[in-house]
Amino acid sequence: MLSGLISAGPALRQPDVVRRIKMNTEVREKAKDFASALKSSLPVVAYFQAQKKMETDKETLALISQFQKKQKELWLNQRNRNFTPAEIMSFRKLQAKIIGSPIVREFSLAQAKAFNLCRSVAGSLSELLGVDFGTLISPPSSC
């Protein structure tokens, strides 16, 4: 069993010697079985249903769009230190409205359940392989 990975910093990355990785047929087939089973699971099916419901509800979409716009404005104003308490209050009201929306709540809950399942299966794979599967398959984060 592998005890884990060692980190020695970005200096070890050598783009000039990067080799292409090609998954073999066996891994590809097993990965497909795994992903298909996951896609058919109740939490993931419920997640897609909730997402579709949210994406087809005009009122919710308008609310989300309004929220995103406000969020962007606030973020830009925050960078310029140019926002008023009234603006923050207005943003919080909108935030509360979104959180209170039954469709958004349903989506958020369904997403949490589906993602919990993903973490759970990644945990099982980590135990079997002896490496942190979830971390390894994630693209490098900027934060």
Binding site: I6, M23, L42, P139
Partner: protein, 128 residues
């Protein structure tokens, strides 16, 4: 198509997960990494170089500062010394290959599932 019930993980996916893990464990990138790791663990000189670099790095993070170019240069010297060791270089090369393999795997799974599986597996944080 499988319709998984509440205890699906234990009953059905368990087998699929085991077979998937087995296929990963037998792929060239994983085997090469395991081999490189074993060689690294057995090489005493390599272990002492890793420890030496780790100690210097810790001291740098505790007391150094990134604008201290002399301290940074000294740390780099230890890193280069460590990377000159063949077992360590080989280990990092195989680790990079394994990381790229898993990222390809992540992309493939995401395409089939229909969402970013890597992101879904990450622990919930306030970041991003």
């Amino acid at each position: 198509m499988l319709t998984l019930e509440s205890n699906w993980l234990e009953e059905r996916l368990d087998k699929i997960i085991k077979e998937f893990a087995q296929a990963i464990a037998e792929c060239p990138e994983f085997l090469a990494f395991e081999k490189a790791q074993k060689k690294l663990e057995e090489a005493q000189k390599a272990q002492s170089l890793i420890k030496e670099y780790g100690d210097k790095q810790q001291l740098f993070h505790m007391f150094g500062n990134s604008s201290d170019s002399q301290a940074q240069a000294e740390l780099n010297k230890y890193r280069e010394k460590m990377l000159a060791c063949p077992q360590i270089r080989d280990y990092f090369q195989k680790q990079d290959d394994l990381t790229r393999f898993f990222q390809e795997l992540g992309k493939f799974i995401s395409d089939v599932v229909g969402f970013d599986f890597g992101r879904a597996c990450a622990p919930p944080t306030g970041c991003c």
